[in-house]
């Protein structure tokens, strides 16, 4: 009698055990089933890990792990992410009136972008972007000369300044707006220093106090977002010391000045690599070089082949891009 009871207990414990890790059949974990067949974890793994998307996913995952393990999220990063989120939320609140509506709208916008699953996911990505920047910074600091030389060759950097003269409708300016523009043009014609004129007359609040300086501008800069595409393209065309003609924007007239294209001056300016350094973002393929600088031991042949061939493909694209430029 006692033996029977114990056997029953043992059997129920075994059943309990089988329930611990989900359903298993023949020792294989089953994720789902229909009355026709089972869908095993191994089938899903095989299908999801192959092809281009599988290769991409493998690199992304290993990179994420590398960043998490080598450059873990700090309290400062989390605070910065929270501050950035609050700034975005504030601008939404101003737009929608109350915070609850603003949060809902922001969440909808984040989800519909396809890049974020939720507000928490957005915050995590913000933190991750700072961890990523730390990894890139660490590499760039160690290999500054090599990275800078490539940057200078590829991205055409220069220091540029700007004067903006606002106009409600630049295609049809008022007499005052015309007069303001003419005064700026006349002062520059008279040989007045560009920075001095910018400080006195520019209506661009972002740059006015810095004597119109936009800092270092390169082919990957995003001046278009603020000033329009004509300003972006002109900024990278100017020769050192050259001043542009008047560029008509959507809400202002702009005049640009190329302060310098001197390699050593720019190098000096970029030497202290911070989170806003263009050296972190100018080259989409730099991350693969950075990745290869770490010690990676492979214990799985398929993983090794997949990851190494993917990185090789990316570096070939980088190399081809440089041949074309």
């Amino acid at each position: 009698m006692k033996t029977k009871k114990i056997t029953a207990l043992a059997l129920s414990s075994m059943l309990l055990l089988s329930g611990c890790g989900g359903k298993t059949v023949d020792g294989k974990s089953i994720a789902a089933s229909t009355s026709i067949s089972n869908i095993s974890a191994d089938t899903l793994y095989d299908q999801l890990s192959k092809g281009t998307s599988g290769k991409n996913a493998l690199f992304s995952y290993v990179l994420d792990q590398l960043i998490d393990q080598k450059f873990p999220a700090t309290d400062d990063m989390k605070k910065n992410a929270e501050d950035t989120y609050n700034q975005v939320l504030n601008s939404y609140t101003q737009q929608y009136g109350d915070e609850d509506t603003a949060k809902k709208q922001l969440e909808t916008a984040l989800k519909s972008s396809g890049s974020y699953k939720s507000i928490d996911d957005y915050k995590k990505r913000l933190v991750y972007s700072m961890q990523y920047a730390e990894m890139m910074k660490s590499y760039i600091k160690k290999h500054f000369n090599t990275v800078f030389d490539d940057y200078y060759k590829i991205a055409n950097p220069r220091k540029v300044s700007i004067i903006a003269v606002s106009a409600a409708d630049p295609t049809n300016p008022t007499a005052d707006e015309k007069a303001n523009l003419k005064e700026v043009q006349d002062l520059l014609k008279e040989g007045q220093d560009f920075g001095t004129v910018a400080k006195k007359y520019s209506t661009d609040t972002n740059t006015k106090d810095a004597k119109g300086s936009l800092g270092i501008v390169d082919s990957t800069s995003s001046l278009s977002d603020t000033y329009g595409t004509d300003v972006q393209s002109k900024a990278t065309e100017l020769k050192s010391g050259e001043t542009s003609d008047v560029i008509t924007g959507s809400s202002a007239f702009y005049i640009l000045h190329c302060d310098t294209t001197d390699k050593e001056t720019i190098k000096k300016e970029l030497k202290s690599v911070d989170i806003n350094s263009p050296l972190i973002t100018y080259d989409n393929y730099l991350v693969y070089i950075v990745f290869n600088s770490y010690k990676i031991n492979y214990n799985d042949k398929t993983i090794k082949n997949t990851l190494q061939s993917f990185i090789k493909e990316q570096l070939k694209k980088r190399s081809d891009e440089r041949k074309d430029s």
Binding site: G21, I39, Q47, S49, G51, K70, D300
Partner: protein, 329 residues
Amino acid sequence: MAEKKESVDTTQFRRIHKVEVKKKRFTLSKKSIAMIVVIVLIIAGCLTGYIITKNSDGYATKVSGNKDVITGDVTVSKQGYFEYLLDQSGAQKTVDNAYNAITNKELPSKTYQSQIDEEVKKLEDSYKSYMGSVESYATSLGYKDVKTFREEFVTPTAKKTVLKNKYLKEQYNTILKNYTPAYIKTITVEKESIALKLIKQATSQEAFDKLMKDSAYSSNANDYKLVTSKTDTTTLNKRIKNNLSKFSSMKNDGVYPTVIKQSTKKYVVVYVYNTDKNKNKDTYINDLGSVSDIDSNAEIFYLKKYKFTVYDKKLKKEIKAINKKYIND
């Protein structure tokens, strides 16, 4: 106020209710001890497994041969990578796997191969016109060659379409009931009296078509073709849509006998055609196939029929996020 506790003499109670039990020394056989050891080990193993795998945010599904596939400056496990893959597109892949098995079961090649081939051809023609060749389209999606692309993407997509058509045919009456479809043409005029006059004049489809072409009405005439309960009110005015079940239940083609007042100065005359739903079954099936949620309803129908079950709690939640009706609770 503290309650005073009364002391109770239990000795008498014990005495009365005392049951004499023959005392016997408790002994365990070697077999029983072995069993107990097995149970303890099983429970310990289970608890350990549970503690190790317990992660409210993680997956219970485990890939075989889990190990650290990468070590050095970074440690990466096969299970970790598997869970990352599941996070990316595991839910959709699981549904696709289930549905592929269902399409294979529901569409035996003996009966359905020609329909499947026809759908494959249609799809490949569309890829050719879009990107010049099937190969270009396949490689743009990351497939290594056309053969793999055909096996893994084109054929399953074609089979889904064939199965949807089968669903439409086999569930035709239920779908008619749920979607209240009707084919309608309308003429909108500014006076009710004119609308009434048009109703009298529209004695046949030819007569109505002629009125639609009449320069007095042509700019406000519209052939909506198939409209259903799913037709958006930005496409079909709400007041016209409110009468959909009446249009759908008309037994014969003809003008709807009542003028629909859409708003002030807008009166709509509706002509309903293709009312014989048996005679026009192919037309209905073809057009219903394009209705927004027919695809997912067909999927839900067959997933339910074949008892689609997901054992992993997290995966289940993600599949429900795609479509909460994919899985029955």
